[in-house]
Every structure is written in structure tokens, then in C-alpha cells.
């Protein structure tokens, strides 16, 4: 081990000097190779930009569709709130409930066990959770002048003209885990959604995060066929959001003051786009196309949703060669309530074998899926323990394969086929551009050389490497679980594949500039810019998007044949009023926004066709004439046939749009993205 430390240090020296040599190389300008590939539409490039943790009502809850004859389903259109964000005539449609203790985990609470919260602060109230209290030179928000000064010499995705001011603003000036008194009337908020806007709070402020995990999310959705109606044929009421957050980790024998109050009522916060909140996103929706029936594909969090985006499927614990094996006991979930608690999960872990109904928590979801009035299947293969919550890939960013994934708590190398594999088969160019990736590779190299990569989880090992090598500290902000290809043996286990397809944000901007953009590009900002509540802000993700759009704007030919999909990994635990179409054990979950920006998606159209992350795969497959990834992936689902009387509910459930309806390929309209 110590011997390797010495080698590590030398490796660093060599890499620094080698990098110096690389900088001197002239930029190579290749022709746009993707132009030559025959496509179903005029679109030759897609760029999928993925933010973190924002829902549709949370972002566009107060938004009036700009396009002619367009309508949108949101808080305003349903009368839940008024245009100024105050409670509307139908505010009770959003009311939230508490549930009496139940013997087992449930996802459809018995009606007689539910009690609505009162309207004078009885609903769990918003709190600051872990949002930064003050400015810091070591993490956002930075002190005034710091990012601006940085930009004078070295513009970069993190410290650039779009972000240099807003990276300094938004500290709460409140203690952590305290009532968020910036929210007007906090402490006395009525039972329902509240606007994140007031004298002391806006979309430029850090706000408290909330837990958003698989079993919690299903429970919050409160789905039961006993609740089904014609307008809501799957019976998901979405009425247990604050309750689950307040109870899933609550030990009833300890007072909340002692154990902390978790994320409480943050789920019910929303922005008012009609009052200049999330204004970049609103402008894009006004000018291009927005889906108000696009969903996170997986109930819960980041890793599983990105995995579904890349594969149309769920990952599972394996022997690293594609054969399912049982993960360590500390990875297996048991959401049944602990004895004597209201709803405290017995073991809030990440994996379940959903083919075995005797496994804790499984029967509640599978029973519901099988009760649906259409042919939905759990899609749980025998003996497979599926990754339900965030688990780092079995590969480090540099391709090093964790030798002991069970003890390192990393998902063994995955054999699940990805869209990257399918594109490779057809020799269609693609890349994943992750913010901070280059630094993460450097940290991984050092973790390997130090020997920590042999025994530690990659977050831990790379964190230690960052402490030893602060010159690459931004590598800890690279999101490993956001990169579905980092799980895949076929990509990460092959150095040529890694070199060709695993890139940094700086490469995305350079490729756009040099006309070498791949046909299919996934863009993910680092943890400072991804828009995640608490660690980032919605306007920082807007700034990241704008930076990519500015680069495209400067290359009109490329822009003309590019479709930019702007979406999120999941709603982050934010409550949403939209219809949910459950497809299998894993999801769908609440709505998230999808914006499609191209010359063929203009005019402020709002699409109601049912869609989720896998719809983006379906678009790629249709445009480049690819087959569904596997015989069990969700991209096999048909396009929805939508009902006239219920425009959000497919006639032929389960069904997923390929997003073709959002385009009008007969009419190309040139217009700026934002100017």
C-alpha cells in the first residue's frame, strides 16, 4: 500500500507535465460526421441536458401556455392556486394527510386511517434542512467578487459569465434544519402547496432538500384502485408527501427536537413562473415545446432514474458477469414499520428482490400493479435484487473496476444493455458529458495508486484523493450515479470506449464549437450547477443550459439540425398534481418538465402525450432506426393513443410516447433560444 503512494505521486507529476504538452496541440476541426448518417427526421443531433430534482408543478405550476390554443395542466389551471401563488378556489384538491400506524408497509393508505392536516400550520412546515447558511470561499454561495474575478482569466462551465453572480447569492442566513422563515407565513401555512417567493426568498435562493427514495416515493403517491376514478384510473392521490417525510425515519420514542425534523414540508413548495421565477425555463417554454405529461421513470432518486434513462430498465446486483446474486444484508431494504413507530422504516436500504412477494415492501407494490385495469407487469426477474436507490457504479470514473463491490457498496459491473451499446452497433456517435469528469478521472487515478480504490467506496476514495490533491477537488462534484454508462462493463471496461464516449462539460462546449458534436449527447452539470435543492439552485441549472444554448447559437448550421431536450432526473420529492401511469414495479413517478428546443418544436406548444425518460430513448431509436434495447426494456411499449375526454390518460396503457408529436417536421422556424 505504501509503495503505491510513491508511485501515485510520480504519476501525478507525469500527468501534470503530459497535460502541459497536450495544451499546446492545435484544435482539430473535423467535418460534422453525424450529418452523413441517415435519420428518420431532419434532426441530426440530440443533446439531452439533465438537471436535478424539480417537478412540473414545482417549476411550471403557475404558468400560462403561450402557444395558440395550448393548455397546460397545473396548479393554476386546476384552481389549486391563483396566479399570485395564493390558495385558489380548489386548494383542497392538494390537501395532504397523516396516516395512523399500520402493521406493514403500504402504498395505498386505508381511507379510515387518514386524517387531513389542519389549515393553520398543522401540516409539516418547510425547513432549511442542509441549505447553506452563509457564503463561503470553499463552496457555493461564494463571497461577492470571487467567481467574477475567476471569470476574468479562465471562463469555465463552473465559473462563467452565466453563473458568476448567482454563485455568490442565496444563502439562507438561517440555521440548518430550522423553520424556513423566508417562506411567507412559514409556521402557519395551510394544508397544501406554498409559493417559494417573498421578500426573502426566490428562485435564486438555496432551499432545504428532502428525501426522495423508492419506497418513500411510492408511499407518498398513495396509489390504490380503491381511489380510482374515470379521470384518475390508476388511483394515485399524491396526498402523503409531508407525512412520509416526517415519519419514515422518525423514532417515536425520541422527540423531533432531538433527532432533527428531516425535510418536513419542503415537498409542497413551488415557483411562480408568471412572476419571473425560473424565467429562463419559462422563456424556453414560451418559444419552444413543453410536455406537461412527462414523468420520472422510476419512483425515488437520482441513480435509478438515470439508469432507466440510459437503459430503459433497472440495474441489479450481480456477479459482475450478468448473473444475479444476493447483495449483502446491509443493502436489502425493509420498509415495514419498526415496532412501536408510526412509519419508521425498519431498514431503509437500496435493493429488493421484487420477484419474491415475501420480501418486505414488495407485496404492497406488486399487488397494486397487478390490480391495475391494464396489462402492467412488475417486470421483476427471478432472484434479481434491483437497485432502487443510489448506489455508486462498480467502476471508478477512470475505468478501474472495484474488486470488492460488496464491501465497497458499489454495484457490480452491469451487463444491462445501454443506448450507448445500441448506437455503437450502428456506428452512430454518442457521448456522455459530465461536469467535473476530467478531475474525477484524476482523483480516481490517485485513489487507484493509493490503494484506496481496492477497498473503499468510490465517493469516499475520491474524497480522500481530493484532500490529498486539491488541484483536482472539483472531481468530487462529478456525479457518478448520473452516468448510466459508468455502470456498464461494455463501456467502462474498455479503454477505447471510455476515451470515445466519457467526456467533460468542457468537451461538450468544444465539440459544439468545432462542429464535432456526436449524434447523441447527454449533458450533466456538476454538483454545483445541477439545480439540486440545497446544494444548488434552479437558476444555476438555467445558467448551465444557457451556456450550452449560447454555444449552439454561435453555430447556426449545427443549431438548425439539433434538438435539445431539457429535463430532470426526478421531481426530487416535490409534490405534483399530475396523473401517474404505473408501468411496472419501478415506476412511473411524478411529472417532471421536459422542454424540447429545435427549429421544429416552436410556438409554445404543450404536449399532453404520456411520456417518461424512456421516451427519449424511443425518440433516439426512431430517429436513428434502432430496435428496442432488450426484450424487457420499456422502449418496447407502444406510443400512447390519447383520449379526447381525458387527454392525459392513454387509452392503451401502459404506453409511452416517442415524443414525435412534439415536432412539426414540415415547418422549420428559425428563432433565437433566449435573446
Amino acid at each position: 500500500m505504501r509503495k503505491k503512494l510513491g508511485l501515485s505521486a510520480v504519476a501525478c507529476a507525469v500527468s501534470l507535465i503530459a497535460a502541459t504538452a497536450g495544451m499546446a496541440k492545435d484544435e482539430v476541426k473535423d467535418p460534422d460526421a453525424a450529418d452523413a448518417i441517415k435519420t428518420e427526421s431532419p434532426i441530426k443531433h440530440v443533446i439531452i441536458l439533465i438537471g436535478e430534482n424539480r417537478g412540473t408543478d414545482h417549476t411550471f405550476g403557475v404558468y400560462r401556455a403561450k402557444g395558440r390554443h395550448q393548455t397546460i395542466s397545473n396548479l393554476l389551471s386546476k384552481g389549486i392556486v391563483n396566479a399570485d401563488g395564493t390558495p385558489g378556489p380548489n386548494f383542497k384538491l392538494a390537501q395532504q394527510f397523516a396516516v395512523k400506524p399500520q402493521p406493514l408497509y403500504y402504498i395505498g393508505a386505508p381511507r379510515n386511517a387518514k386524517t387531513a392536516y389542519g389549515d393553520r400550520g398543522q401540516m409539516p412546515q418547510p425547513n432549511t434542512n442542509g441549505a447553506p447558511s452563509a457564503q463561503s470561499v470553499s463552496g457555493a454561495p461564494f463571497p461577492p467578487g470571487f467567481p467574477e474575478a475567476a471569470n476574468q482569466v479562465d471562463p469555465s462551465p463552473d465559473f462563467g459569465p452565466n453563473t458568476n453572480t448567482i454563485l455568490t447569492t442565496g444563502a439562507t442566513n438561517l440555521p440548518a434544519k430550522a423553520l424556513d422563515t423566508r417562506v411567507p407565513d412559514a409556521g402557519m401555512l395551510p394544508n397544501g402547496p406554498f409559493v417559494l417567493q417573498g421578500l426573502n426568498i426566490s428562485d435564486d435562493d438555496y432551499t432545504g432538500d428532502m428525501t426522495h427514495r423508492f419506497y418513500q416515493a411510492w408511499q407518498q403517491s398513495d396509489c390504490s384502485m380503491a381511489n380510482a376514478t374515470k379521470a384518475n384510473p390508476t388511483g394515485c392521490l399524491n396526498d402523503l408527501f409531508p407525512f412520509v417525510m416526517a415519519t419514515f425515519a422518525l423514532n417515536d420514542s425520541v422527540t423531533p427536537a432531538v433527532q432533527g425534523n428531516f425535510s418536513q414540508g419542503n415537498e409542497m413548495g413551488f415557483y411562480d413562473a408568471e412572476q419571473e421565477q425560473a424565467s429562463t425555463l419559462k422563456t424556453l417554454a414560451d418559444r419552444f415545446a413543453l410536455s406537461d405529461n412527462f414523468h420520472q421513470s422510476f419512483q425515488g432518486g437520482t441513480g435509478a432514474n438515470h439508469f432507466m434513462l440510459g437503459t430503459g430498465d433497472a440495474g441489479f446486483w450481480s456477479d459482475g458477469k450478468g448473473n444475479p446474486v444476493t447483495p449483502p444484508a446491509n443493502q436489502i431494504a425493509n420498509p415495514n414499520p419498526a415496532k412501536g413507530s408510526t412509519n419508521k422504516y425498519t431498514a431503509d436500504n437500496n435493493f429488493s428482490n421484487c420477484s419474491d412477494f415475501s420480501q418486505p415492501g414488495v407485496a404492497a407494490i406488486v399487488g397494486y400493479i397487478e390490480s391495475l385495469p391494464y396489462r402492467a407487469e412488475p417486470n421483476c426477474a427471478e432472484r434479481h435484487y434491483y437497485m432502487l436507490d443510489n448506489t455508486n457504479p462498480g467502476f471508478f470514473p477512470n475505468g478501474f473496476q472495484a474488486p470488492n463491490p460488496a464491501t465497497q457498496s458499489m454495484l457490480p459491473a452491469s451487463s444491462v444493455r445501454t443506448i450507448g451499446d445500441a448506437l455503437n452497433d450502428k456506428k452512430i456517435s454518442w457521448a456522455y458529458f459530465g461536469g467535473g469528469y476530467n478531475d474525477a478521472v484524476a482523483l480516481s487515478d490517485e485513489a487507484v495508486a493509493a490503494g484506496t480504490a481496492m477497498t473503499q467506496n468510490s465517493s469516499t476514495a475520491m474524497g480522500a484523493a481530493a484532500l490529498a490533491d486539491p488541484s483536482h477537488e472539483l472531481g468530487v462534484a462529478y456525479c457518478q450515479i448520473c452516468n448510466p454508462f459508468q455502470y456498464a462493463s461494455s463501456i467502462m471496461g474498455d479503454s477505447a470506449q471510455r476515451k470515445a464516449h466519457m467526456k467533460d462539460t468542457v468537451d461538450l462546449l468544444a465539440d459544439i464549437k468545432s462542429n464535432t458534436l456526436p449524434a447523441v449527447s447527454f449533458g450533466k452539470p456538476d454538483g454545483l450547477l445541477d439545480g439540486h435543492p440545497q446544494s444548488s439552485k434552479i437558476d444555476l441549472f438555467e445558467a448551465y443550459v444557457q451556456q450550452v444554448l449560447d454555444a449552439l447559437e454561435a453555430n447556426p448550421k449545427l443549431k438548425a439540425e439539433t434538438a435539445v431536450f431539457v429535463t430532470w432526473d426526478e421531481a426530487g420529492g416535490y409534490w405534483d398534481s399530475g396523473f401517474i401511469q404505473p408501468i411496472d414495479f419501478f415506476g412511473d413517478g411524478p411529472r417532471i418538465p421536459l422542454l424540447v428546443l429545435s427549429a421544429y418544436t416552436t410556438g409554445g406548444k404543450v404536449s399532453h402525450d404520456y411520456a417518461d425518460h424512456v421516451s427519449i430513448l424511443k425518440f433516439i431509436e426512431r430517429n436513428w432506426k434502432l430496435r428496442p434495447l432488450t426484450d424487457r426494456s420499456r422502449d418496447n411499449l407502444p406510443n400512447p393513443r390519447m383520449r379526447d375526454d381525458q387527454p392525459y390518460v392513454p387509452k392503451n396503457m401502459p404506453a409511452l410516447s416517442d415524443l414525435w408529436d412534439m415536432f412539426d417536421f414540415d415547418h422549420a422556424v428559425k428563432q433565437p433560444y433566449l435573446e
Binding site: G6, C12, A149, A468, P470, S471, V476, S535
Partner: protein, 209 residues
């Protein structure tokens, strides 16, 4: 003009602060040179008044008296160098007759695991350059050549054959500004960034075993 005054002020502050931390091994000459690792492109080195500057693609390293920093002009920030490069641990002024104390101190300041243990240092040649076989604790040995007039290592040969050497040594005065941290630069602490990122979904905490 104002920037220039502040530059000098901060630089003096830094040099003064680190000066207290070191045991002076003797006065190294003032010079510049190229560091060449095997046959890679060279990187610039400057030495003056016991301070060392080593250039890097995104900034430069400054060391003096066991304190090593990495300065990033592009981002107007600096950090502890720690183990960002081994160069800051080996290319430092040393006593040609007893260099290991300085190398050991540099390794300890960089946080190299086990560096506070026993170092094996064997002088195997005295002239024209002092030549040492050095074995840090838990690491393989290496041979180091020290120029007695410069009081500075000029070549390090690792056991795996990797060679780090100073070439094109150019004696002469070095601009003091090369060794300063400009005014307004902030020091970043990676631990704070890690704590910030832990509040997001990027950081995945492994479950308790």
C-alpha cells in the same frame, strides 16, 4: 498600480509566514531550470530565497519551508498542494550532506501516509554531486543527485526507472512576483467542498456495514 502594491503585500505576508516554519538548510542558489520527467515536455522551475515555484498546466506550485501551495490564477484561488504532485516534496532546497530531514518534512506536510516513520538514507557518492539512495517508509528506494553549489536536487531516479531531472539550469535572479500569491486570491478547502457536495445526490454515502 494598486494591484501591484497588493501583490507585493500578500507575497511578503506568505513568504514571511512560511519562513518561520522551516529550519534553514543553507542558502540555495537563485536559478531557473526545466524539470523533465523521462522524455515528457519540460515544466519550468524557479528557485530564490529558499522558495520554489513549479509551473503546471492550470497554475503553479509554491513551496517554502515545508509549506506547499497550488495557485490557480485562472480561478483566483489557491489550495494546499498536499500530494497534487510529488515534485513539491522532492524538488526543494536541501542540505547536500543531510537531505533526508527536508524531504521527510515535505512528505509529512504533504500528508503522505507513513512518512513520519524511519527513512533510510545512504550516501553513495560525494563528488562532483552528492548522490543518495533514499527509501521513505513503506516505499521503494530511489537515487537522488544533489548539486552542492545549488544545494538542490538535480536528478531523481525511481526504482521503476522513471527519471526526474533538472535540465537547462540557468543561474540568475528571479522576479519576486514569481513567488507571490496575488491579492484577492481565496484559499479553498477541499473538505468544505466535499461537505457541500454531500448535501446533493452526487455524493453516495455507503450504508453502515
Amino acid at each position: 498600480m494598486q494591484q501591484g502594491r497588493r501583490l507585493a503585500g500578500v507575497g511578503a505576508l506568505w513568504l514571511g509566514a512560511v519562513g518561520c516554519l522551516m529550519a534553514r538548510p543553507g542558502v540555495a542558489a537563485e536559478f531557473s531550470a526545466d524539470i523533465v520527467v523521462d522524455h515528457s515536455a519540460p515544466t519550468a522551475l524557479h528557485v530564490a530565497d529558499q522558495a520554489v515555484r513549479i509551473d503546471a498546466p492550470t497554475g503553479y506550485f509554491l513551496t517554502k519551508g515545508g509549506v506547499a501551495l497550488f495557485v490557480r490564477p485562472g480561478k483566483q484561488m489557491f489550495t494546499d498542494a498536499r500530494q497534487s504532485t510529488s515534485l513539491t516534496q522532492w524538488f526543494i532546497p536541501v542540505d547536500p550532506d543531510s537531505p533526508c530531514a527536508q524531504w521527510r518534512a515535505a512528505a509529512m506536510n504533504a500528508g503522505v501516509a507513513g512518512s513520519d516513520g524511519e527513512w533510510l538514507c545512504e550516501k553513495i557518492e560525494s563528488a562532483p554531486r552528492s548522490r543518495w539512495r533514499v527509501t521513505p517508509p513503506g516505499q521503494s528506494s530511489r537515487e537522488c543527485w544533489i548539486d552542492p553549489s545549488l544545494r538542490f536536487p538535480v536528478r531523481i531516479q525511481m526504482s521503476d526507472g522513471t527519471s526526474l531531472s533538472l535540465e537547462n539550469i540557468r543561474p540568475g535572479a528571479q522576479s519576486p512576483e514569481l513567488f507571490t500569491i496575488p491579492a484577492g486570491f481565496h484559499k479553498l478547502d477541499p473538505q468544505s467542498l466535499i461537505e457541500h457536495i454531500k448535501r446533493s445526490d452526487v455524493w453516495v454515502e455507503p450504508p453502515p456495514q
